[in-house]
């Protein structure tokens, strides 16, 4: 049986619960999980103060309730499954390296910052800085996958070094800013200044996008790898038409103030 936590008291101030991950609760019974220490504002409390715990830690956790103020869930996760039935707060899956997190609702800022592996699926919207680097650090996401089915805001994949981010809806400004490598797909519209300062990596968008003056037009072609990528994304529930699967894409390269080895591919119907 998996571990089930349902929130019985709504926190008044942010709750930081980095211990709530399937690997850190492995082998613990409900009593032991209830006794785990988490941070409520500036004081230490126990999981039991806010959650009713059922079941046993066997590699999967289900969380229920209004978790919009709960931060750092699934931090450093290495394996297992974490399912959040509702909205969730900031810093979901910080630096995770394995396992899968699913959020049925919306997520706050910083989804999967500096993650190295595993998968995060957000069924609703996410905010700023998904898959990004923290302020002051040079590299963001190192690997793994982030799938956001709704919209996302600014600085998606800031400083991203590897891995895949897919946004089903629209993305804000500065998508893939300072990107070192990796792939970002935006199926909706993309804001301005995408790929600013990127060294390598690919940003793929389905709608016309404004390019920075440091990006130059190369050609129009059909990159074969997109077909493979899109087929895989279809199995993840993303709606990608046949036209996009087989269509042609404009290729822009940049950012010329940096290495100029990055690319932005724009679907051209």
């Amino acid at each position: 049986m998996s571990l089930e936590l349902s929130m019985h008291t709504r926190p008044q101030v942010p709750l930081e619960a980095e211990l709530l991950g399937p690997d850190k609760t492995l082998g613990l019974d409900s009593k032991a999980v209830s006794g785990l220490q988490i941070q409520h504002g500036n004081e230490q409390v126990t999981v039991g103060d806010f959650f009713k715990v059922k079941g046993k830690g066997e590699g999967a956790i289900h969380l229920e309730g209004d978790l919009a103020r709960v931060k750092l869930l699934g931090s450093g996760m290495t394996t297992g499954k974490l399912h959040i039935h509702g909205d969730v707060g900031e810093h979901l899956g910080v630096g995770m390296s394995g396992g899968e997190i699913t959020v049925d609702g919306n997520a706050g800022d910083w989804v999967g910052p500096e993650m190295a592996g595993g998968r995060i699926v957000i069924k609703g919207n996410a905010k700023h800085l998904a898959g990004s680097a923290y302020r002051g650090s040079a590299a963001g996401m190192l690997g793994g996958e982030i799938f956001i089915h709704g919209h996302a805001k600014n600085e998606i994949g800031h400083g991203m070094r590897n891995g895949l981010i897919v946004i089903g809806g629209n993305a804000g400004d500065f998508t893939g800013v300072n990107m070192l490598a990796g792939t970002i797909v935006v199926l909706g519209e993309m804001g301005i200044r995408s790929g600013a300062g990127m060294k390598r990596g690919s940003i793929i968008t389905m709608n016309p996008a404004e390019m920075l003056p440091t990006f130059s037009y190369d050609c129009i072609y059909h990159p074969v790898y997109l077909r493979l990528l899109f087929r895989a994304l279809r199995t993840q529930g993303f709606n990608i038409s046949d036209a996009k699967l087989t269509g042609k894409y404009q290729r822009w390269s940049g950012d010329s103030v940096e290495l100029n080895k990055g690319e932005i591919l724009v679907f051209t119907p």
Binding site: R135, G136, R193, P213
Partner: protein, 453 residues
């Protein structure tokens, strides 16, 4: 002239970030007013003239007059019992008071943030990302032969800024303005425009694109002439500017909130800092933010040397964590996270977004201000304090990070911010110690007590 007059020489004006320290104030000691402020600009004169002693109780609890000790006790109780208290403001007070505020936030494990987060906070992020190539205004005066203002209107916001950067004769600039080229880059023609030799008008919200194109040109990359359609600036103008920048002896980029508070924010400041960095391959180039409030630079310095970060610092876990967007005041209030607020010399209730103000109304607020403000009116505990630079001595930082001492003009019946914050800190500390004793907690707070008091 009145009988009882005092002349204060080399007094300091703390109205804007220029912090001019060559004021000569004439003070009528009977009426407790400043009758003349020689050398001050129009803003400075208004600042000195409008300052008089109000008739306000020194402390109020829920809008009713209260003895000072009682108010300090109440404030300390609120702060100690809060789980996510925030401290905000600090740009219009002395460094000494700022230091006490950081100590309080540390002891109560709260969050400390300054008005930097709503003005040049983005530049703070950019400094961390890119680095800052910097100098004092004195160096600018003596050496700069190319001065570029970007997204600011100093003639109206910092009227005496030009005495460092445009008009004066300097050691290597013997003919003053004649030896300098002044460039203004802005979205409109501001009243500062007449001092400029070159005026560049950029389309609103396109500063980043212009900066990026300039960076590309400095690095010798090709830029499409279509850039004019995007930014409103012809490619020839850009090429000319780049040549001037590469060939000057000492260049300076002053940037204002036209850059930091428009779409792109920290990336705009970052692009400008990166441009200055790129130019250092060719010549000496520096970039400086033109700071608004009198001692906002001091706030950045004090919070940095006490916590390691300039603003938006959280102590919930006993050590400093920096994360703008998470621990900055507007965000914390808008999300409804904070459960108490200590506001020093600032009026967020009149200039924050609506959701943030609504949350401020719901939580206990402690405010320190020289005047009655929207924030002091909604405060649970409101302290009336004396004005820094006019009644209170101390240190402030000029916008180029140079510390300048204050020479007050006359005494005020009200205590200074530092005095009240020190009293709150002391009481908060005692309360935390007794709390630790009661719960048998570690000696952590006790150790801290030795370090802080």
């Amino acid at each position: 002239m009145a009988e009882n007059t005092r002349i204060v020489k080399n007094a300091t004006c703390t109205f804007c970030g220029c912090v001019c320290d060559d004021m000569e104030l004439t003070v009528d000691l009977d009426k407790k007013v400043i009758t003349k402020a020689k050398n001050a600009c129009v803003l400075g004169r208004a600042w000195f003239a409008e300052h008089q002693i109000d008739d306000r109780p020194v402390a109020m609890i829920d809008g009713k007059e209260a003895p000072l000790e009682e108010a300090i006790e109440e404030a300390a109780q609120v702060l100690v019992n809060a789980k996510f208290p925030i401290t905000y403001g600090l740009s219009d007070t002395t460094c000494e008071a700022q230091k006490q505020a950081v100590a309080i936030s540390d002891i109560i494990r709260g969050t400390i943030d300054t008005t930097t987060s709503v003005c040049h906070g983005p530049s703070g992020l950019a400094f961390q990302d890119i680095g800052e190539s910097t100098s004092t205004l004195g160096e600018v005066k003596n050496r700069a032969d190319l001065v570029i203002y970007w997204g600011g209107n100093p003639a109206e916001s910092h009227p005496r800024h030009f005495r460092y950067s445009v008009t004066p004769k300097g050691m290597f600039i013997p003919n003053g303005k004649k030896d300098r080229t002044v460039v203004m880059i802005d979205v409109r023609k501001t009243p500062s425009a007449p001092v400029a030799d070159i005026l560049i008008q950029v389309k609103p919200g396109k500063d980043f694109e212009l900066l990026w194109a300039l960076r590309a040109l400095v690095k010798g990359r090709k830029v499409d002439p279509q850039i004019q359609v995007m930014t409103g600036v012809p490619l020839e103008t850009m090429t000319d500017l780049v040549e001037r920048m590469k060939n000057c002896r000492f260049g300076v980029l002053f940037f204002g909130m036209g850059l930091t508070m428009t779409r792109g924010r920290h990336f705009n400041s970052g692009a400008l800092l990166a441009l200055a960095t790129d130019l250092n391959e060719f010549t000496h180039f520096v970039a400086k933010p033109v700071r608004g409030h009198g001692n906002v630079t001091g706030a950045d310095n004090v919070v940095s040397w006490q916590t390691g970060y300039p603003f938006g610092v959280n102590f919930s876990r006993g050590f400093p964590r920096f994360n703008p967007g998470e621990f900055t005041t507007v965000d914390t209030l808008t999300r409804g996270d904070a459960d108490a607020a200590l506001i020093i010399a600032s009026d967020p209730a009149s200039n924050f977004p609506k959701a943030a103000i609504e949350h401020l109304k719901k939580i206990p607020v402690i405010s320190l201000d020289t005047k009655e403000t929207s924030t002091s009116k909604l405060s649970h505990v409101a302290f009336a304090t004396s004005t820094y630079g006019i009644n209170t001595a101390g240190t402030v930082y000029r916008m180029d990070d140079v510390p300048i001492p204050l020479r007050p003009a006359f005494e005020s019946p009200y205590p200074g911010d530092e005095e009240i914050l020190f009293a709150i800190k002391k009481r908060v500390h005692e309360l935390i110690l007794s709390k630790c004793g009661a719960t048998g907690a570690t000696g952590e707070a006790r150790v801290a007590s030795k370090l802080m008091l």
